[in-house]
């Protein structure tokens, strides 16, 4: 069954997490919950990225004793998505931190974390 291979599982998990994250962002009124949903969304993308780079039955892209240096190209998984995901994680962290800061800020100002309480800017 293709579906139960690890890359498919992680891909599907990624997409499910993506949908869960999106659902959380648009349905949860609580700002903290929205941020958590965003984190889920973020994670889902990381998962997708890693899944995309995965090649079955291969090892990590570190050329050590377990890898034949000359045949490395046939033994390791794709290193690039892994590099990318590293960056993406950091970016996600940054955004999450900022979101939390803003949430803090909002809570300090209005003592409320309900997103629909903040409608002063509209139209």
């Amino acid at each position: 069954m293709k579906l139960f291979e690890i890359e498919y599982i992680s891909l599907i998990a990624g997409f499910i997490l993506l949908i869960v994250g999106l659902w959380g962002i648009i349905s949860q009124r609580n700002i903290i919950k929205m941020i958590i949903s965003f984190s889920i969304l973020d994670t889902s993308v990381h998962l997708l990225l890693v899944a995309v780079g995965y090649i079955r039955n291969r090892t990590a892209p570190i050329i050590d004793s377990s890898v034949n240096k000359l045949n490395a190209a046939n033994e390791i998984t794709d290193p690039l998505p892994q590099a990318l995901v590293l960056t993406a994680i950091v970016i996600g962290v940054g955004i999450t931190a900022l979101l939390l800061t803003y949430a803090l800020k909002l809570f300090r100002q209005n003592s409320s974390l309900e997103i629909n309480q903040y409608k002063s800017l509209k139209w």
Partner: protein, 235 residues
């Protein structure tokens, strides 16, 4: 009303899911490295000299990304500082002193964790790990520190300096790459060294150290910022 809203949102998310499903069905599991990845696998060693190919990509091939990444953390720290600026230093209620247990534990653990962190970023080009991971671990030390001495104030200055100097050095090394080698962030400023040793892979260990320090400082900074407004919630 609520049901209406939920079902409407559900439809939207449903469509989204359908869209993503369409994307999913185009996926077929890979069997081969593509050209770019293959190049990294084949030439990465000789060009960069780092055992960890991910590291060689992160630090060298896609060094600009990494610079951006560091910048993002830097930015985040700066923004959080900016945002929380007015609320700092107004702690009125004295914070309870940390427990003996925590203080003792911290005293033991902090050096160990710091060491692990440093190890991880110094060895980033050889084994899994690197500047970001190491930096994050360093920052966890800082959390521990903060928790254990919760009633003391900690200045930003050291962290700021660490941040600035490591960041500047990163860029300087990058610029040196243009001057001494083939391009910005080229690691071949000096010889690649022996493959697999600590001081190999050109500037990668240095950069990763700098990144580790910087990330650690930045994350710590963020934590510090948050921590400093903690306890104000009472009013």
């Amino acid at each position: 009303m609520k049901i209406l809203r939920s079902s409407a949102l559900l439809i939207v998310v449903g469509f989204m899911a359908w869209m993503m499903f369409n994307l999913y069905v185009t996926y077929d599991s890979r069997t081969e490295l593509n050209d770019v990845a293959a190049y990294y696998a084949e030439e990465g060693l000789s060009e960069v000299g780092a055992a960890n190919l991910v590291t060689s990509i992160v630090v060298t091939y896609r060094g600009l990304d990494t610079l951006g990444e560091v910048t993002i953390l830097f930015l985040t720290a700066a923004i959080i500082g900016l945002l929380l600026k007015t609320e700092k230093g107004t702690r009125t209620t004295p914070v309870r002193e940390s427990s003996e247990f925590l203080m003792t534990g911290a005293r033991i653990l902090i050096p160990v964790i710091t060491m692990i962190g440093v190890y991880i970023f110094i060895n980033g080009h050889l084994s899994p790990g690197g500047g970001f991971q190491g930096g994050a671990i360093l920052a966890s030390t800082f959390i521990l520190l903060l928790m254990s001495i919760s009633n003391k104030k900690i200045g930003h200055r050291l962290l700021d300096y660490t941040e600035a100097i490591s960041g500047l050095s990163f860029i300087l090394i990058g610029v040196l790459g243009i001057i001494l080698a083939a391009g910005f962030l080229d690691n071949k400023i000096f010889s690649l060294g022996t493959f697999g040793t600590l001081l190999s892979a050109g500037t990668i260990p240095i950069i990763y150290s700098l990144v580790g320090l910087k990330v650690g400082a930045e994350l710590s900074n963020i934590i510090l910022e948050f921590n400093q407004i903690q306890g104000d919630e009472d009013h």
